[in-house]
């Protein structure tokens, strides 16, 4: 069985793989940590409502199919919007990577367990709903390959990554007030993202 990795390890790696023209929509714990690894104006930290990140990402991917879109989702969040898998699978955005961080709990609200068996079968469910690939992470090369395939227009791809929660919620204010977070949260983040997308030259969708 795959040993869980950490959010920091995954997001640091993604920070190196992400192109400047890729949009990243990050939510919940990943949204708190992502600003450590990115200063890009095409970031949106989507903390409310819980579960909406994948759908916001889909809208961006449909509206600008030439841009890469990476959604940093979480297992608890995904369960609040599981129907989004159906819609994304139906729309088939080619440059769309859906990363689902799995810690088996609602980390942001104190670690309550997910209902049922959580999201352990989500990669196969995603494939059955129209994602081109659903992958369960086994080592860092899976993330590299998924990002590469997303850039090559082989999406939508879902990559589920078992990861331990490594955010100290007693330090929440520190995360939220991080310089890189302030420009990507809420209305400011949305306006920066919209301006950044508008400034990105439309290219062939390839």
């Amino acid at each position: 069985m795959t040993q869980p990795t950490t959010y920091d390890a995954v997001l640091e790696q993604l920070g190196g793989l992400r192109r400047a023209t890729d949009v990243v929509v990050a939510t919940m714990t990943a949204g708190l940590i992502w600003p450590r690894y990115s200063t890009n104006d095409l970031d949106l930290l989507s903390m409310a409502p819980m579960g909406a990140a994948s759908s916001v990402g889909l809208g961006i991917a449909v509206g600008r199919p030439d841009l890469g879109v990476i959604v940093l989702d979480a297992d608890g969040s995904l369960l609040m919007n599981l129907g989004s898998l159906v819609t994304i699978g139906g729309q088939k955005p080619a440059h769309f990577l859906h990363v689902v961080m799995e810690n088996g709990a609602y980390g942001i609200t104190g670690g309550q367990e997910l209902p049922g068996t959580g999201t352990q079968h989500v990669p196969s469910i995603a494939e059955s709903l129209g994602y081109t690939r659903g992958i369960r992470w086994s080592d860092p090369s899976d993330l590299s390959a998924a990002v590469e395939d997303m850039h090559a227009g082989k999406g939508p791809i879902l990559l589920a990554i078992p990861a331990t929660q490594d955010v100290d919620l007693s330090q929440l204010a520190g995360y939220l007030n991080h310089e890189n977070a302030l420009r990507a949260f809420g209305r400011t983040g949305f306006e920066n993202l919209r301006a950044g997308i508008q400034a990105s030259e439309v290219t062939s969708t390839g």
Binding site: A52, S55, G63
Partner: protein, 170 residues
């Protein structure tokens, strides 16, 4: 001229690009007209909150979007409306089917059976909830004068925030 025709004229004039919709009876005429235009794109979502989030993403990508739902679904998506288009001032005309407008339990029970109480409740809650959420709204009835309807729709399509148009049928 039918309301849907007036709406489509203005939607094309204002260069809207996408409709996000969740299946409903009341806005079906507008949805089918939108879908029939090869320059416009309809995205069907599974649930209203999901649809609002997709519409918000499209707006972030620089697209102009209308949303079509019914009022019982409007209740479902209030948190998403609050957190995305309302808090972030995203322009979003929303056509909301007014299920249960003026209905009473006794009047609709013979036709709606077990749905009767539900239908009546939706009519009672709709404008009260919109007012509580400070969401701009207006009601557009099928027999509306065309000039009035045009003005109402122009206001909704030009708003720089969510603007709900309640419709019996369009």
């Amino acid at each position: 001229m039918q309301l849907a025709e007036v709406a489509m004229q203005l939607i094309r004039r204002e260069q809207f690009t996408h409709m996000v919709t969740i299946a409903n009876f009341e806005t079906e005429g507008l949805r089918s007209s939108f879908a029939a235009d090869p320059d416009l794109t309809v995205i069907a979502a599974c649930r209203e909150g999901e649809g609002v989030a997709i519409a918000s993403g499209l707006a972030a990508a620089g697209r102009k979007v209308v949303l079509c739902i019914e009022n019982v679904g409007f209740f479902e998506c209030l948190d998403t409306l609050r957190a995305l288009p309302c808090d972030m001032s995203i322009p979003l005309p929303i056509f909301v089917g007014y299920l249960g407008r003026g209905a009473t339990y006794d009047a609709v029970r013979p036709f709606a059976g077990g749905m009767a109480g539900h239908v009546s409740l939706a009519g009672t809650w709709t404008e009260a909830v919109l007012d509580a959420a400070s969401i701009k709204h207006t009601t557009l009835l099928p027999d509306a004068d065309e000039a009035d309807a045009r003005t109402t729709l122009e206001d909704a399509l030009a708003a720089d925030e969510p603007f709900v148009v309640l419709v019996d049928q369009i």
